[in-house]
Assembly symmetry: C2
Homo-oligomer: 405 residues x 2
Amino acid sequence: MISVAEATRLVWSTLRVLPPETLPLAAALGRVLREPLHADRDFPPFDRVAMDGIAVAYNALAAGQREFPLERTQLAGQAPLTLKNPQAAIEIMTGAALPPGTDTVIRYEDLLISDEASQRVAAVQVVPPTAGHNVHRRAADRRQGDLLLPVGTVMGPAQLAVAATVGAAQVQVTRRPRVAVVSTGDELVAIDQTPLPHQIRRSNGLMLQAAAQQAGAETAAFHFNDDPEVLRVGLPPLLRDFDVVLLSGGVSKGKADYLPQALQEAGAEQLFHEVQQRPGKPFWFGRHPQGAVVFALPGNPVSTFLNYFRYAQPWLLAAQQPHPSPAPTAYATLATDFVFKPSLTHFLLVKISNTPDGRLWAHPLDRTQNSGDLASLLHADAFVELPADRVEFAAGEGLPLWRLA
Amino acid sequence: MISVAEATRLVWSTLRVLPPETLPLAAALGRVLREPLHADRDFPPFDRVAMDGIAVAYNALAAGQREFPLERTQLAGQAPLTLKNPQAAIEIMTGAALPPGTDTVIRYEDLLISDEASQRVAAVQVVPPTAGHNVHRRAADRRQGDLLLPVGTVMGPAQLAVAATVGAAQVQVTRRPRVAVVSTGDELVAIDQTPLPHQIRRSNGLMLQAAAQQAGAETAAFHFNDDPEVLRVGLPPLLRDFDVVLLSGGVSKGKADYLPQALQEAGAEQLFHEVQQRPGKPFWFGRHPQGAVVFALPGNPVSTFLNYFRYAQPWLLAAQQPHPSPAPTAYATLATDFVFKPSLTHFLLVKISNTPDGRLWAHPLDRTQNSGDLASLLHADAFVELPADRVEFAAGEGLPLWRLA
C-alpha cells in the first residue's frame, strides 16, 4: 500500500498533453490556448481621446489663450479631422482619434461653451496641467507585436475579449478530454426505477460526469454489472477510445470485485492498488499503453467524490495544458481542533468561511464522516488533507485545501 | 452622483425571481432547485454490509465460538439470504444487505478461511469489539422523509447524485436568465474585419456574453451604432423580451452618448446615472416596468468588466434563487500599501495568492490601472474594493474581494 504522495506522483507520471483543435473564438470559453496571440497593432492604436470635450494645441494654452472657437465636431469612429487654425479647437468625444494639430483634451466639466453669432466658443475654466492631458497615447498600454496571450492561457471572458481585439476570429485550443464514466455494481438500478429493498439507485455515474464536465471534459456514461464476461467485452473499447476512464466500485477485495483483474486482462497496466488514505483506500490506478488512463475509484460515494477531486480533476485540467504542472496548492486555516488516529492520510470534509481579515477557515462537518453517506457531501464545499503521520490537528493551523468544484 | 452603497441598494431593489422549469436531472447541473427533495426511504435503506468478509450472529462470538462453517455467499445486489444455523456464517460482500439471523460482519483481513472436506470454514483471528461491527445500520445517515435538498440548492455534482439516489429523474429548477448583450460605438468593427486606423474591434460584447453564460444565463448579442434612430427601433424589443439588458458604451456626456435618453424614451425608468466610483463613473442603471432590468455599463473595457462583476453578476445569480439574498462578502488581505486619492470608491485589480497559513492575499497589479487597457485584465483574477472616504491603505488590512469569474 503506497502513500498519498507516491500515488500523486504516479498519477502525474501518466500525464499526456491532449491535441489542439481550432474553434471560433466565441466557442473557446474555458479552453486552453495553444497558439500565442500577439498585439496586431499598438494599444491604443492611435492617440485616443479619453474624455468628452475639446482638443487643442497646448502651445496656445501655454501662450495664455483661454477662448477657443470650435471648428468642427469629431465623434468616436470618425476619421480624424485636422485642426486648421492652431488657435481654434475641435469638439471631440471619448474614443476618437486625436486630430492632427492638437495634443491636449479639455473635458466639458472644465469648459463653458457659448454660441456667439453662430460661432461656438469654448472658454477654459480649468487649464490642464500638461500637454497630452486626457489623451491616452498610442502604444501606451501595449506595442504591436507584444505577446498578449501566451500558450497555455485559460480563455475566460477577458481573454476572449483580448483575442477579439487582435482579430483572432478563430483560435487554436486544446480539445476537450474524452472521459468514459463507468459505474459498476449489481446492487445499482437506474434513477427512474424503484429499487428493491436490497438495491439502491445509481448516483456515482451522474456525479462523475457532472464533475468531469465542469473540468472541461466530454463524457459518456456506462454501467457494467459485476460479471467478468461483461467487463471482458465492455472494457477494451473504452480503454481504446477515451483519454480517461473513470470507474467507481468493484476495486475492493470482495468476491465480485473483478475490476482490477479485468482491467489488466484488457491490457491496462496497474500503477497502484490501495493507498494509505481515508476515504478511498482501495483506489486502483493504471493506464493502457496505447489508450486511456484509468482511475478506478472506490464505490462508496464519498470515496468516489473525494478521490475524483484529489487525483482525477487535477489530471484532467493539467492534460489541457501544453506545459502541464500541478496547480498551486490552496490552503485554509483549521477552525476547530480535530483528531484522526489511523495512520492514513485523511481527507476531511469541511465548509469554508472567509473572515474580513482575508483568512479562509475550514470548518469540519459536524457528522462523523462516513464514506457511504452521500448526503454528507451536500454540506461540504471542500476537504482538507491531514497528513498520515500525525494524530492531533489544532485549530489555527494551515492545511492543504481541495475544493469540491 | 450616488455612492457605491446606494447604487448597490438600487440594483438589489430590482431583483425578481425567475420562473421555474422542469428538466431531466442530468441537464440540471449548475441550476437552482425550486422543489424540495426528500429521502424517499431510509439511508442506508437496509442494514448495509460495510466490509467484505463474513456475517455472523454476535451471540456465537460472545459464547466463545471462533470457527464458523460458511453456509453460502451473498453478493451486493442479491436478495438477502437467511442464516439457517446460528453457529454458521454467510460469506458476504460490501454493499450487500445484512442477512437475517446475523448482526455483525468480520472482514477478510481478520479471518483465515480453509476448505475442510469441501466445507469452507472461517477461523476468526481478530474478534470484533461489539455486535453490529462493520454494519452500516439502516437509517444511520438519513431517515425516510428527511429533507435532503432544500429549495434554492445549487445543483453541483454531489447534489445531482443525491437527487439520483432519491429517484428524482426530473427536477424543477429556475430557468436561465435571458440576457441581451448590446455593444454600442461607431468606432467598433467586427472581429473578422480589419479596422481602419481610428477604429478598433468589438470586444465588450463577447466578454459580457461569456461572463453572463458563466453565471448561468442564455445570451444573445447585438451591436447598435451611435444613432438615435437605430436605438429607437432596436431597444424596445430587447426591453420587452429579455430579463436583463447589458449594454456597454454610450452612457457618458458626449455628443454621441444617446443611450440614457433612448432608454427612457423606450420606456425604461432610470434608477441612477453616475456612481462615485473608479472605474465606471458613468454607469447608468434602470428597468422597464414590464420588462428588462438594464445595466448600461461604461464602454471602456476595464470599466465594463469590473462593473459587470460588481453589480450585474450578483444580480444574475440571485435572480435564480427563490429567496434571493446577496452572497456573503469575500475578503483578502492587501499585500502591499496602496494610495488612492480621489474621493471615489476604487475597484483595484489584484492577483490573488494563498499562503500555507490559510490567508488570501491581494497583490495590486504593477501597472497603473487604466480603464482603457483591456490587457491589464489578463493578469488580474479579482479586484478589491477601496472605500471612498480613505486615501491610504496599508499592507495587511482586509478588504472586500470580487473575483473576476
